[in-house]
């Protein structure tokens, strides 16, 4: 187990190295550069050249990459060209919002998806089954940003049940510790701030949950149906075990194996969806910031953010693999 983790982490190093080279070359080949974003169309060639020189962009790309790697090894990602602040600071300020949003979405998706998928499988061919299958098929076909707009229009703007934008009501003064607003509220015992932050998460969380929910319902249903037909379930029934024990110990546990894998695979898509949802709800996460950084050619921000996200993504998948070996003894991690 321990060796498995170490080996996976070691494997991460060459992958990150390769990713950084690809990203670096690719980003620096983007037409235009930060000078265009800073000066607009007006700047004279001299001013442009001065800015490029100032940022060290006039040097050969290899030298630039060397400098970047040197800083990387000291875990220094440099400063944003646009905001002049440390990339790490920017990340720590914005990423918690995205994580909160993604976590809300995946919790909603799991909390509704697994029971619904299970019930659909048990009531196969009945109304509930048909409704959830149809719902999950339609669910993956609705563009996330459209759903976000619809939810916002109905529940925020018409019914005024939920706030329509942002992460926190500006009138609430909250102490910031981790920038996870809900967590901050709980840690500082500012209950109203925590509740308000949660309130702001409901609509974007629901919109973002739509696709994972649809997928989890479908996978759970298929998986439960398969397990229900397995011989060991028949054995459990033959033992005369109570229905509850058969269901929990024998059916659900085995049915969760493919669901766990799927949830791991959903995290990547969740980040993409978060970018769209954040835009609709003016929710300050990394989504809008990355989009801006691309248009401004803010190289340090892009390099830094994408590298961090890639590392996190790999770590999440490592966790998923580990949890998989915990539920299924046949999977031995080596």
């Amino acid at each position: 187990m321990f060796r498995f983790i170490v080996r996976r982490l070691l494997q991460l190093i060459p992958a990150l190295f390769g990713l950084s080279i690809l990203l670096f070359i690719w980003l620096h080949r983007l037409p235009g550069g930060p000078e265009t974003a800073i000066l607009g169309e007006r700047g004279t060639p001299e001013m442009r050249a001065a800015i490029r020189q100032n940022l060290g962009l006039d040097e050969p790309i290899l030298v630039q990459y060397g400098r970047f790697m040197k800083r990387m090894l000291r875990l220094d990602l440099g400063a944003s060209i646009a905001t002049k602040r440390e990339v790490t600071t920017e990340f720590l300020q914005r990423f918690p919002g995205t994580v909160e949003l993604a976590a809300t979405a995946i919790i909603i998706a799991i909390a509704i998806g697994i029971p619904l998928g299970y019930l659909a499988a048990r009531r196969r061919g009945r109304l509930l089954d048909h409704v959830s299958v149809a719902g999950s098929l339609i669910g993956v076909c609705i563009p996330v940003f459209f759903l976000a707009y619809v939810l916002k229009a109905i529940f925020a703007e018409n019914l005024h049940l939920f706030p329509s934008s942002g992460r926190q009501d500006p009138t609430i003064e909250a102490t910031r510790i981790t920038n996870f607003f809900v967590l901050d509220g709980l840690m500082t015992r500012e209950w109203d701030a925590a509740a308000d932050a949660l309130w702001h998460l409901v609509l974007p969380g629901l919109a973002l949950a739509s696709i994972p929910l649809a997928i989890i319902v479908r996978i759970t249903r298929a998986s439960v149906l398969e397990v229900l037909g397995e011989d060991f379930v028949r054995t459990a029934e033959a033992k005369g075990l109570t229905e509850r024990v058969v269901r929990q110990r024998h059916v659900l546990r085995n049915a969760m194996l493919p669901v766990a894998t799927t949830i791991g695979l959903l995290t990547g898509g969740l980040l993409s969806g978060a970018v769209l949802t954040e835009t609709v709800f003016a929710f300050s996460g990394i989504g809008a910031f990355i989009a801006d950084s691309i248009s401004q050619r803010d190289y340090p921000v892009l390099m830094g953010f994408i590298m961090i996200i890639a590392v996190l993504f790999v770590l999440v998948n490592l966790l998923v693999d580990l949890s998989y070996s915990l539920i299924d003894p046949r999977v031995r991690v080596r």
Binding site: D231, F232, A238, G240, R253
Partner: protein
């Protein structure tokens, strides 16, 4: 009074868009306490469905209907309500399945799978349950049982898994054990060990055993009474020795003749039954076996054959049966020695099926404890 008395059991599968299938079509047989009864037939003859119906394990779906009666010590297993059936299953009636790997839960340790049945029916928990589980594993011949308790099914060999399944089945000392092809998925040598184990368990505990198999070798080695099934009906019932010595139903003869024999000349061909189980006539239109039968006469078609009761302990369902030994040259006579077949050769007791000459049907009848054969009108 028999322990289990199955009367006119029928199971019908009705699926939308497909034709209705009567998998079990009026099966009747009985099992005495401590007796080993065989249900024999080709795949598709309804023997597994029969066992699932008795256990109440057929899927509860509209379209699957079970009829008839299965009197188990005063309780009709087919009518008892679901909760009561859960109490009976595993405690009074237990089952051993064909494929031990898929029949054990892959993600739960063996120990847990044994203890959960002890917890459910005997109220044992914690260390008491674990100790009893270790004893059980020991009794079914699993070495180092305390360590095995913590292992998962994939870490055990095929034979060990089947032993574990047997341990689960006998955990509550059931009065009736149903074994559905318990050795089919195993190597020949392991098959012999498992059969030996089952036999010992049955002998020691007085549990009645219904042995479901397609392997006449298994039947020859174990069963007291044999029921031959074809197309969802019992076509012949007899004590083991008379059945092998003097099969009366042409299908039984066919089964016996399909087995390769050691003493046959190299050039001799096997005489398998022509056609397959799919070539059946519905019982309502006559004898289901008629299309494949070499003794077919006109009377076979038109009306379902009645069950015929002979003066010996035997019933068969045929209008033109194979003549009994002595009255005419029997088709099956030479086949008897081959009865055990390849499987039983390695089996624990390939001897019991003696040559024909030794078998005295009358003597066999005297000592038999088979329930009185009943005359039965066909459904």
């Amino acid at each position: 009074m028999a322990l289990l008395d199955v009367e006119d059991l029928s199971v019908t599968f009705r699926q939308r868009g497909k034709r209705t299938v009567r998998a079990v079509d009026g099966v009747s047989f009985s099992v005495d306490a401590g007796e080993v009864v065989g249900l024999v037939g080709e795949s598709g003859c309804g023997k597994s469905v029969t066992s699932l119906a008795l256990m109440g394990l057929l899927p509860r779906q509209p379209g699957i209907s079970v009829g008839g009666k299965a009197d188990f010590d005063g309780t009709d297993l087919l009518r008892v309500d679901r909760r009561a059936m859960r109490d009976i299953r595993g405690r009074d009636v237990a089952m051993i399945f064909q494929d031990p790997l898929s029949s054990l839960n892959p993600v739960i340790p063996i120990g847990r799978q044994v203890t959960e049945v002890l917890t459910r029916h005997r109220g044992l928990s914690g260390d008491a349950a674990r100790k009893e589980a270790a004893d059980l594993l020991d009794r079914v011949g699993i070495p180092d049982p305390t360590r095995r308790l913590k292992e998962y099914p994939h870490q055990l060999s095929g034979g060990m898994r089947q032993r574990a399944l047997i341990a689960i089945a006998v955990a509550c000392q059931p009065r009736l054990l149903i074994a559905d092809e318990p050795t089919t998925a195993l190597d020949v040598t392991i098959q012999a060990q498992i059969l030996e184990l089952l036999k010992a368990l049955v002998r020691d505990s007085g549990t009645a055993l219904v042995m479901i198999t397609h392997d006449l070798g298994v039947v020859a080695g174990m069963c007291d009474t044999v029921n031959v099934l074809y197309a969802g009906r019992v076509v012949e019932t007899a004590r083991r020795r008379p059945l092998f010595a003097e099969p009366r139903h042409p299908y039984t003869v066919g089964l016996l003749n399909s087995i390769p024999r050691l003493d046959a000349g190299r050039g001799d061909k096997l005489s398998p039954i022509p056609g397959s189980v799919r070539d059946v006539l519905p019982w309502a239109d006559g004898c289901a076996f008629a299309p494949r039968c070499d003794r077919q006469v006109e009377a076979c078609v038109g009306e379902p054959p009645q069950l015929v009761l002979t003066h010996t302990d035997r019933t068969y369902r045929c209008v033109n049966p194979v003549p009994a030994v002595g009255s005419a040259p029997a088709v099956a006579e030479p086949a008897v020695e081959a009865g055990p077949g390849p499987a039983a050769e390695a089996g624990p007791e390939s001897g019991p099926v003696g040559p024909v000459a030794e078998v005295d049907p009358v003597a066999e009848e005297k000592q038999s404890s088979v329930p009185a054969p009943r005359e039965e009108e066909s459904a």
